[in-house]
Amino acid sequence: MTGELQPESGTTPHFAAVRHLARRRIEDEVIVLDLHRSRIYGMNPSAGAVLEALQRPQTVPQIAAQITPAGTAVSTVCGELERFVAELAALGLIARCPTVAEAEATAPAPAIAAAWTPPALLWQEEVARVTNQISPPQQIGNPACLP
């Protein structure tokens, strides 16, 4: 459902997570693995909630409505979300969606956040894929490893 198409002029852009990501909550971080780009990311739980919301196409205001906790201004969350969504899009972890109608038809049930912390990417590393040649084969004979 994700795509590279631009939204029609005058509409609020919809975004969705790209489909090939692996994502797991491990301790207090959400770890996201993107093997198409050979990157792994550590994110805070708010960022994980944004990615969870973006399993279906959503606009920034729609995401904000789901994850803004009571007592926090939605406008505050929207501003921080705009920045973070742009960061995710630049990393290729989310993409703009082609149609608004599709997004509205597939919006998920709201998620509840206990407290608001701005979503943040904490770290990233390059990873290898199984098809990569990792190290050059050693030309030396290593007697330690020969029977």
Binding site: A22, E125, P143, A144, L146
Partner: protein, 278 residues
């Protein structure tokens, strides 16, 4: 039918990987690397879960000077209805998950077999990870020494000949009774062995030997680049991610700075505690 070349490879405690061909020249091409892990295959079909790879030589062995260039080529990965294929200009590997059989067509050299086995291992490890590291062992305890190319894996293995089991890739699997076990692999040089995974060391060069324990979160981050991730099976990728989280939390992980001196073994083998950053 009796094959001219047929061996069963015992790797990481998994069901055997059978290599077979009607061309007897494969024996000379493969046994220098895989011999210690191989046994002559019986005529009967391998046992349940075994993988069977048919080898077909499409060209003579490459010149040694050309090997690095071949290895640097990108590999095209294609997901097939019931399996996958890997293609380069010099080889094609196709594997059918449903039947457990595949074919490797390439030069009469171990290069394509290395590639196929790495791929199969990463996919087949439902309870473990394929890791970029040398494996050393003493008694029942095994120590994975991981790190990028040039960090000293082969140097360390060469310094510690009695302990070294392999110098490039190893497997860590959850043990049925708890904890983790590590297994050596025939990359680049290896002899069969396994043991309880007592610690993981992330190697780096330093002015003197020093070990710094990592908390699980930092351990996960530092280990992630050393995992050989399954390339195109999303279920396997997610599973590997979970396993990495467990490995980082359950096995002591430390950064080990070292000079190429055998005395580093004392630090490698010193007791360590999982999740204990210092």
């Amino acid at each position: 039918m009796k094959r001219a070349f047929a061996v069963d490879l015992a790797l990481a405690g998994l069901p055997p990987f059978r290599l077979e061909s009607d061309d007897s020249r494969w024996s000379e091409a493969l046994l220098p690397r895989y011999g210690p892990f191989a046994s002559a295959a019986p005529d009967a079909m391998p046992r349940a879960g075994a993988k069977r790879l048919r080898l077909r030589a499409t060209s003579p062995p490459p010149e040694l000077s050309a090997v690095a260039r071949l290895l640097a080529e990108p590999v095209a990965v294609e997901t097939l209805p019931s399996g996958w294929s890997l293609s380069t200009s010099w080889c094609r590997i196709a594997f059918d998950r449903r039947t457990g059989c595949g074919e490797i067509a390439g030069p009469l050299h171990r290069l394509a077999i290395d590639l196929a086995l790495r791929h199969l291992l990463a996919e087949e490890l439902t309870d473990g990870l394929l890791l970029h590291g040398a494996l050393l062992a003493e008694g029942e305890r095994a120590f994975l020494c991981a790190g990028p190319s040039g960090c000293g894996k082969s140097t360390l293995a060469g310094l510690l000949p009695e302990a070294a089991l392999c110098d490039e890739l190893a497997v860590a699997r959850r043990a049925p009774g708890g904890g983790w076990r590590a297994w050596s692999l025939p990359f680049w040089h290896g002899r069969p062995g396994c043991g309880r995974l007592a610690a993981i060391h992330l190697l780096e060069h330093g002015p003197q030997a020093a070990r710094r324990a990592l908390a699980p979160r930092e351990a996960l981050r530092r280990l992630a680049p050393e995992v050989i991730w399954p390339a195109h099976d999303e279920g396997a990728t997610g599973r590997a991610l979970e396993l990495l989280g467990a490995l980082a939390a359950e096995v002591p992980v430390a950064v080990l700075a070292f000079r190429p001196e055998p005395e580093v073994w004392a630090l490698i083998a010193a007791p360590a505690t999982a999740g204990a950053a210092v």
